[in-house]
Amino acid sequence: MTFSGWLQIALVLIAVLALAKPLGLYMARVFAGERTWLSPIVHPIETGFYRLAGLRADQEQGWLAYAFGVLAFSFAGFLAMFAILRLQGFLPFNPQGFGELAPDLAFNTAVSFVTNTNWQNYGGETTMSHFSQMAGLTVQNFLSAATGMAVAIAVTRAFMRSGATAVGNFWVDMTRATLYVLLPLAIVVAIGFVALGLPQSMDASFAATTLEGTQQTIAIGPVASQEAIKQLGTNGGGFFNTNAAHPFENPNAFANYLNIIAMLSISTALVYAFGQLVGNRRQGWALIAVTGVLLLVGTGAIYWAETSGNPLLHAVGVDPALGNMEGKEVRFGQAMTALYAAVTTGLSDGGVNAMHSSLTPLGGMVPMFLIQLGEVLPGGVGSGLYGMLVFAILAVFVAGLMVGRTPEFLGKKIEAREMKLAMLAILILPLVILGFTAVSMVAPFGLSAITTPGPHGLSEILYAYSSAAGNNGSAFGGLSGNTPWYNTTLAIAMLLGRFAYIVPVLAIAGSLAAKPRLPGSSGTFPTDRPLFVGLLIGIILIMGGLQFFPALALGPVVEHFAMLAGQSF
C-alpha cells in the first residue's frame, strides 16, 4: 500500500461526497414534484408522456398498486427484451449479422437487465447486435435503475407522511427518475467519456494492421453512451466481455476515476435526498457514513490483500513489491483496482476493471462478502437505499428495546408487521444464495461448470449466486455459466433477489405511511448520531457474517490458508 494509492482513493471518495449534497437536493426537488432548472425543457416532455398514457400525475397509489406497477412494468420490459434477443437475427443495426440467442440465455439476459443485475453469460462484442445493445440492454439500463429509484422514493414518502394510505405514483416516479436524473446525467457523463477517449460509433469494428503486419479486427460501437448509463444506473453490464478492464471501456486512469464517481454518485446522493425529504439531513449523512466506513474498510482489505501478494509467486521469483498483479490492468494499479472492486460490489454495479477470480483469496472474499451484506454500500440506485432502510429498521428495533421503548425510526413505530416484512426481505438472500449454491455443489449439472476444483470452485459458484441474488452482476470469472442450469437458476436468483425483496419493502412502506409520525423526546433513541452509525455497521456485518461465515470458510478462507501453506488451486 502506498500513500499515493490512498490519496487516489481519498480523492475519488471526496468527489463523491461533494456531489452528494447538490445532486441530493436536486433529486429531492424532482421527487417532491417541485420545479427545477431542467423543468423548462423536461416538463413538457414529461406531461406529454402522461397525456399519451392517459395518466394523472397527481393521482397517487397505495403500496399494493405501486408494487403491481413495478411488477407489471418489469414484466413488460422482460417480454420486450426477450423478444429482441430471440429475434435478433431479423432486426436492424446488426452489422456483424449475429443470430438469435438460445432460449435459456435470452431468458437469463432479459431477467438480468430487467432486475438491474446485468449478469452477462454472453460476450457482448461477439453476441449482441447494436440494436440489441441499444434498444434492449441500454433501455433497460435506464428503466431498471429508474424502477429502483421509484421504489426507494416510495419508501422515503412512507417516513414523510402520517396516517396516509398512498405512497406515490410509480409511473410518475419512474418517469421523473429517467427524465430528470438518469438521462441528463448520462449525457454529461457520456460526453466526458468521449473526451477521455472512449469510442462512440455505429460501426461494428475496424481493421488495424499490427506491428507484426498482420490484420486485426477491433470491435467498437456506441461504447461511451452505454458506459455512462452502465455506471450511473449501477448496472455494470459492459459493452465488451472484459467489461471495464477493456481499453475502450476504461482507457486510462481518469476514465477510471470517472467510472467510479459515476457509479457512486446517484446512490450516495439518493441517501442524502432521503435525509432532505424526511426533514433530517443528519439522518442522510449518518447513513452515508455507514456506507463510507464499510466501503473504506472493504477497499483497505482488498488493497492490503492484493499488495501483500501471493507468497507462492514470490517464491518463484516474482517481485513482492508489485503485489498480486494477476488479472489487473497496470494502468489502474493496486489502489484503483481495490477501490473499483469494493465499490462495484458494495454497490450492486457489477462492472469490473480486474478479474475478481484472480484476486488473492482474501482479496476475492471481500467483494463477495460485500455483495452478501445485501448490496447496501451504498447499493444500487434505489435498491441500496431501501435495502439499507431494512437494516436500519432491524438496528432500530434492537436499539429501541435496549433503551426501553417501543422502537421507532424517524418517528415511526416499528412493530410486529414491519418486523415480519423486514425478516421476509432479509431471508431472501441466504435462501437463494446458499440454497442454489448447495445444490450446485452436489449435483453433476452444477459441478460440471467449475473450471477450478477445490475451494476455489466453491468460491466461483458462491460468487455467482451472490452476484445474481444481490443484483450485482459481476462475475468471479472461471465459472462456465452459460448452461441451462445456471442460466435458469441464476435468472431465478436475480428475480427473487429483486422482486421478492421489493414487494415486502413496499409493504413496509404502506404500513409505515399509515402510522402517525411521533415527535421525538430525550427518551427516543437518536438515529442520526455516531452511536447509531456504529450500531448499524455492527448489525450489517453480524447479519451478513453469521449467514455466510460457514460458506466463506469453506471457500476463500480455506484457500487463503492453503496458499499460505504452499498449495494453490
Partner: protein, 685 residues
Amino acid sequence: MSSSTKPISVFSPAIMLPALRDAFIKLDPRQLIGNPVIFVTEVVAALVTVIFTQDLLTGQVGTSFSGQIALWLWFTVIFACLSEAVAEGRGKAQAESLRRSKTDLMAKKLLFPDRATDHASQIIPASTLQLGDIVIVETNDIIPGDGEVIEGVASVNESAITGESAPVIREAGGDRSAVTGGTQVISDWLKIRISAKPGDSFVDRMIGLIEGATRQKTPNEIALSILLSGLTLVFLIAVVTLYGLALYAGAELSVAVLAALLVTLIPTTIGGLLSAIGIAGMNRLIGFNVIATSGRAVEAAGDVDTLLLDKTGTITFGNRMASEFVPVGGVSESDLASAVLLASLADETAEGRSIVALARADYGISEPADATSAAAFIAFSAQTRLSGVDVAGRRIRKGAVDAVLRFVGLDKAQASAEFNKAVEAIARSGGTPLAVAEEDRLLGVVHLKDVVKPGIKERFAALRAMGIKTVMVTGDNPITAAAIASEAGVDDFIAEATPEQKLAYIRNEQVGGRLIAMCGDGTNDAPALAQADVGVAMQTGTQAAREAGNMVDLDSSPTKLIEIVEIGKQILMTRGALTTFSIANDVAKYFAIIPALFVATYPGLGVLNVMGLTSPQSAILSAVIFNALIIVALIPLALRGVAYRPVGAAALLSRNLLIYGLGGLVAPFIGIKLLDMAVTALGII
C-alpha cells in the same frame, strides 16, 4: 400479599422443585410451538435422539458423542421451560393465598332488595352470585364479590388484597363506594350491588394474571418473536446448505454435529428466557402492589411520553401549611407568632396545626402554661370565616383577609399599605394569606401554602431525563397552580381542571402522537382514565375508576406511576439486552464449531480454532453445553430485569451495548474454553 413479595432466591428448593416438574410438563410440543426457537430445538433434540438410539441398536461405534449431544440439546429445551416455570412459580404462592380468600365464600343475598329496611336474606354460595344481585354484608362477614355500596357505612379490612392492615372506610355514594370480593367488614354493615360476573371478579383477574394463565403475548413480544423466528430460519438455511457445501469439500457431516451447530446458532438464550422476562415483569409490578389488567398496558407504560398527576396528595401534601409569618405595623415577628399560636392552639384543622408547628419550630415560641385553661376558643364557621381565642382579656382572631378586616372594622382601602402589600405578595406567589388581628389592630399575615413533597422535584427531573413530560392537574386558580408548578418542577399544568378539560388535554396530546399515563380515583376521572394509554386507578377509588383504568394501585399512591414506567422500560430493555447477547454469542460458537467440522478435510482451518480447544468433538460438545448452561445462568437476570437508569436514551444504549453486546461477544470465548478444559479433564469424550 406484601409479605409474599419479598425476594426469594430463584434457586431455592421451594421454587425450584415444583418448577422442575412444571418444566417437564411444558415440554409438550403443542405448548412449545408458541415459542418457535425452543420448538425447533426440541424437534432437533428428538431427531438426534432417534438417530442415537438407532445407532446404539445397530451397534455403531462412537455413539457416546451423539448421545451426549442429544442429552444437552434436551437440557437446552428443559432449561428454557424451567425459566418460564420459575417465573410463574414466584407468582403462584401469591395466587394461592388469594384463592384461599375466595373458596367457600357464602353470600347473604337480600330477599327483598326493594325494601329499604328489610334485611331479610338468604345464604347462597358466592360463586352463584349474578351481576346486579344485592347482598348484605355485616360485621365479620367476608364481602362475597366485587360491587358497589348502595347503602351503609362500614370499615373494611382489605389486607387480603393490599397487604395494608389498617381498615378503610367504605360508604355509599362518593369516591369510596367500591368494594372488592375477599375483603372483610370489621364493623357496621353494607348493602352491596354485585358488579362482576362470577369468575370475572377482581380477585379472579388477579389470580389469572399472577399465574400467567391469561397471559397473552404483548405486541412487542410478538415483534421480537418474529425477529427470532426469522433468525432461526436464516440459520436453518445456513446449516442445511452447509451439508451440501461440506459434501463438495469431501466431508460428510453427521446429523448430530449439524444439529449442534444449528442449536448453538439460533437465539436459544433469548428464545428460552423471553416469556420469563414478561412474567417476571408483571410479578415485579405486583411486588409494587400494582395490578395490571394486561401486559400490553405495562409495555405501554414504558413508552409513556406524558404523565398527568393530580396535585393534591401526589405533588403536594394536600393541605395548605403555614410557611411564614409576616408582621405589619411595627409588630415583631415573635409577637405575631405567639398571638397566632394562641389563636390556633385549639384549631384542629391541618392549617391550624401547621401554624402551631411553625411557631414552635421556626420561631421557638411555646404557649403559656395556663393558656388552655382560661381561654375561650372561637371555632371557625362558614359564616364568620374566622377563628380565634379570648384569653386574659385578649381577643385574637385569624381568618380570611376580608373577614379579619371586618373584625377590626376597616375596609380594604383603610388598611395600611404595608398590610395590603403583604397580602398581595402572598397571593401572587400562589399562597393563601391568613390575616391575624388582636382587638382592632392588624398584627400581620400568615403565609399559607401548598407544600411540595420533598424529593418530588428530583423525581420529575429524572422523568425529564427519561424524556417524559409531567403535567400537574389541579382545581386551583392559574396563579396558584403556576407557582406550585414551578416549585415542583413540572413541565405543564392544568389549572381549574374539570373532567372535560382533562379528557381534552389527553386527547390533544394523543393527536400529537404521544402516549399518556394518568392516575385517578374518582368517578369523574373515569373517562380520562379510559382515554389515557395507561390509566392507574387507586384501589381506594370508585368501581367506575377501577373499571376504566388498566392498572390498579393497591396502595393508592399516585407517585407509583414513575415505578410503573420504569418497570415497563425494564421489560423491553431486558429483552433487547438478551437478544443482543444471544446474537453476539454466535461469533464465538462459529469459531468453536466450524474448525471442528472441517479441520480433518482442510487442516488449514485449524488456525480458526483460536480458543485452542482440545478436539473437534470436545469443541462441539463444549459449545452445546455452554449454550444450554447460559440459559440457566441468565434466569436471575431475566427475572430481575436489566437495571434502568434515567440517563437518556443514547447513554443507556451505549451502556447496554457495551455490557451485553461486547460482553456477549467475549463471554462465550471464555465459557467454551473453560467447558472444553472440563470436558477434556473429565474425559467424557
